[in-house]
Subunit: 155 residues, 2 copies
């Protein structure tokens, strides 16, 4: 079974190479924009009332598939690809939660953008706390990361 999708737009960001971009969104607060194909503008009605969106996109610069990887946040230890957000997954699909700043026609201005410039956009969903907010989740190896140090290093 082969499932085919077409990009519905493009995500623009300050990141031009993948070594800089894999730190996830909220850590850096970088600004970017989504250029939605104009034919889909009708689908944006009401989205301006949300503070955050989930973007689903294609890791277009990723060729490899690996089942175990050493992710950026823990480069000395291998983890199963499904226990990471690393791009080298069987299907090269990425998701990120972005802050939605404003919408002007077919352009969505965002902050906390962590994707590569020119990333093909597959979908936009509203961030809905009633579905996406989990109380006290256990987050595996990410719970052992020293986030304060990473944030300092990135800023």
């Amino acid at each position: 079974m082969n499932i085919a999708f077409n990009p519905i737009g493009i995500i623009n960001s300050p990141f031009v190479n993948s070594c800089r971009s894999p730190r996830q969104a909220q850590i850096e607060g970088k600004k970017g924009s989504i250029i939605l194909n104009e034919e889909y503008c009708g689908g944006l009605v009401g989205l301006q009332d949300f503070s955050h969106i989930i973007v689903i996109y294609y890791f277009h610069r990723q060729a490899e598939i690996k089942l175990e990887v050493k992710p950026c946040f823990d480069p000395h230890q291998e983890h199963g690809i499904f226990a990471t957000r690393f791009p080298a997954r069987p299907n090269h699909i990425g998701i990120s939660v972005l802050s939605l700043t404003s919408i002007k026609s077919n352009i969505l201005y965002c902050a906390d953008v962590d994707v590569l410039d020119g990333t093909p956009l597959l979908d936009i969903k509203p961030y809905v706390k009633y579905f996406d907010q989990i109380d006290n989740p256990k987050c595996g190896w990410y719970d052992n990361i020293d986030w304060a140090t990473i944030t300092r290093r990135a800023s």
Copy 2:
């Protein structure tokens, strides 16, 4: 640009028709399982240490694309498709946060499953509070829903 993916497994759930399933995960707590294709088992290393996963899947029973829809939680009002989680999106991609109960070989036992039985799985990502948890998000029209009533009706 046409982007092709292949399912990496199947999600099993108690839901056989889409009228019952669109209530999102945590509301019903239903149990289900993910049967991952065996070739990808190596990618699960470390995932057992997470309490929640994000599954990305294909809305395989969805034929239509609509830019404005009347979603299940607000059936009398039209909303732009990107301001909803409704399946009739330009690309029929769904995401859900599921509770991960246990993993046995290539089978992931889950709770809070809200997808249709037999749904093709595209990706599994760990739920990472450092990326996926947003403090006090504004959730547009979802903030006006009477969730207590919906939960009572569903149970």
